[in-house]
């Protein structure tokens, strides 16, 4: 910056205006990108030192936890527990992926857990009553629910959030026409209720202007009340008898199918990243070196391949039945992950989300409808809470009246933050929630395997890990500003 200020005069500017190839090459020297793996690695180390660690802290944390828990329990590294861990992480990661969107715009949604409870309750009630929510809820509550959903269709449409408006409207159709007997449509209803809830939160935060912390804290309580109203104080409403819902967490992909999906996913990943590297290099743009792309794709293929291999082994503890295969929930998480990653990184909408999170004023001046974008983040978060609710119901085998009340939200926020998403907005990836969810799920999983440990420690350790992650986020955010 300081070296090339020769103070050349304005009048003799002609020479400066000529853009010689040499000068251009020097000007954007780094734009060719790293030439090889070694350069790329050096660049990555520099990034980590600069506080941009990405997923590295989470992966290191996971390794530390694995080493500790492998020593405290014989069971932790068993095939059965590995499958357990992924099943436990599935709900957290889906909720966390939704949370990433809200965190990206610098907000928070504390109500996502109990909102997921309301969604799951709608699903369970519809399934158990032949799709007739009116009979199970009572006419008053049912009409109130429908009116709220209709109102949120209008709110979404007024904000030009067409997709959410359509989803909620279709949800109303499912509820009114008793279509919830079909399990797939009942699940859709759950997501639609979540979308409706998100529209309401988004409206209150982005249009009315109430801080998201207050809105969602209030609704965190309110949804608990709604859930009680829906379910009553009695036993959980079972979903165990409905195979499609039940199979999400308790069913497994056939061995061959899992390998085929794995192979196709790896080929697609390798294909897109390699194609991007080659075509960008050809156009003279900054591109990753091809060997880096190959090494990274290879590493991912090996890690996921080992996971699939282990899960495809028989992990039954008896000789009478075989338990093997990748849980379907893992496939759902993977599909959701790929979808939202595409939206965030390849579409204009994703770019707008980052811009709104980074500098709201700049986004407004660039002509972005900031209120609409902010509203949409809450819609996605709560819609994902509806999906997480389905997975949670599948895991628990039913919907109890305290669904989502305890640690769900904190785990989801924790997953995103541990993975590297900033609480201050503008920085984060969908990937963060998935990696973070595995770390978060590992803590109660590993601690509960230690004999004679009190659950006091589970809460204590999980809380401290969250605090450390949030602290690391705050510190990494501070360092670039202070030098």
């Amino acid at each position: 910056m300081t070296t090339d200020n020769k103070g050349y005069s304005v009048a003799s500017d002609a020479s400066v205006l000529e853009s010689t190839p040499e000068a251009d090459a020097a000007a954007f020297a780094s734009d060719a990108g790293p030439r090889n793996v070694v350069d790329a690695f050096k660049g990555y180390v520099a990034k980590v030192r600069g506080g941009e660690g990405g997923a590295l802290p989470a992966i290191l944390g996971a390794l530390v936890l694995v080493i500790i828990f492998a020593n405290t329990s014989d069971v932790f590294l068993s095939k059965g527990n590995f499958a357990n861990l992924l099943q436990q992480a599935a709900q957290i990661s889906v909720l966390g992926m939704g949370m990433v969107f809200v965190l990206l715009i610098g907000e928070i949604d504390l109500s996502a857990g109990t909102a997921g409870g309301v969604c799951a309750a709608s699903l369970a009630l519809a399934l158990n009553n032949d799709g007739d929510l009116q009979a199970s809820l009572g006419t008053g509550v049912f009409v109130a629910l429908m009116l709220i959903m209709v109102a949120t269709v209008v709110l979404a449409a007024l904000s030009k959030l067409w997709i959410p408006a359509v989803i909620i409207a279709l949800g109303i159709v499912v509820a009114v026409a008793h279509l919830g007997t079909t399990q797939l449509l009942a699940m859709f209803l759950s997501v639609a209720v979540g979308t409706s809830i998100g529209t309401l939160i988004g409206f209150l935060v982005a249009r009315v202007g109430i801080p998201s912390f207050i809105v969602t804290l209030a609704l965190f309580l309110a949804w608990q009340g709604v859930l009680l109203k829906f379910i009553g104080t009695g036993a959980a409403i079972p979903t165990r008898n409905f195979d499609l819902v039940d199979k999400i967490e308790n069913g497994y992909m056939p061995v061959v199918f899992a390998w085929v999906v794995w192979a196709l996913a790896m080929l697609a990943y390798l294909g897109t990243t390699a194609y991007r590297s080659i075509s960008r290099r050809r156009e003279g743009l900054s591109a990753e070196p091809l060997d880096l792309v190959l090494v990274r794709a290879g590493a991912i293929a090996v890690v996921t391949g080992i996971a699939v291999f282990v899960l495809n082994q028989d992990r039954s503890r008896t000789v009478f039945a075989k338990i093997q295969g990748v849980p379907w929930a893992v496939l759902i998480v993977a599909i959701v992950f790929v979808f939202w990653t595409y939206i965030l990184t390849r579409t204009q909408y994703g770019r707008f989300l980052y811009a709104v999170g980074g500098n709201r004023q700049a986004a407004r001046r660039a002509g972005i409808d900031v209120k609409r974008i902010r509203m949409s983040a809450f819609v996605i978060c709560s819609g994902m809470a509806g999906l997480a609710g389905i997975i949670g119901a599948s895991y628990l085998g039913g919907v109890p009246s305290d669904f989502g009340k305890n640690t769900d939200v904190l785990y989801a926020v924790g997953a995103a933050v541990i993975g590297g998403t900033s609480l201050f907005g503008g920085r984060g990836k969908v990937r963060d929630a998935v990696i973070g969810a595995i770390v978060i799920a590992m803590i109660p999983n590993g601690l509960n395997l230690i004999k004679n440990i009190s659950s006091a420690y589970v809460f204590l350790v999980t809380g401290l890990v969250l605090l450390v992650a949030a602290g690391a986020d705050a510190l990494s955010r501070r360092s670039p500003a202070e030098d």
Binding site: M1, A27, R351
Partner: protein, 260 residues
Amino acid sequence: MADTPILELRKVNKSFGPVQVLHDIDLSVYPGQVTALVGDNGAGKSTLIKCIAGIHHVDSGEFFFGGNQVTLGSPRDAAALGIEIVYQDLALADNLDIVQNMFLGRESKNRLRQLDEGAMEAQARTVLSSLSVRTVKSVRQPVSSLSGGQRQTVAIAKAVLWNSKVVILDEPTAALGVAQTRQVLDLVRRLADRGLGVVLISHNMNDVIEVSDRIDALYLGRIAAEVKAADASVSQVVELITTGRSGDLGLSRATADANL
């Protein structure tokens, strides 16, 4: 120098409630020239540029763009005409890189509605090098890693990217060191040399006199005088800013005093 102004304001008035902020403002911006807008705090500079940007609606007065009368009802209208404003507090998002910032809100997309990163990156680089910006290592580095002068440069380049005809710079050098101010002023001059109409708002009289062609001094919501930069001295401009008159120039004593 061109004779027809690219942007012309005639008898523009603007009030906020009982307070009249702009009185009968006449202002002409010529292509290929830097028109400096100077004035003390509260003289109405910001209000005036917000009127040009379409953020504020004027109470009365006419706007002409390239000789045709236009209405500036919204920032979109102004942008559509090719009026770009580089704000004092830099409308850049720190977490995005240079390319992302320059194209923010107007991203190129391919047939699949995906972002066309390649096209945007190439175009950003072309614009930056056409403005002889040589200090940026990579157009893919985040804006948070740039110095103040580089950020200002990116903000200006962003304004140029869209084939704009008039660029309004609000205090572009206010927060910069000596060397960086030098770079930005050179860039301002280069914009005019490309044939753009440049409006420069600044508090630094030396900068103003050096880089601009014409100086319009605002005094309590009125144009006190328009002087040629070549003929003006710093003390003369300062006098116009602080008292509204200087020798034969400026508002009549009655008008100037009436506002006090």
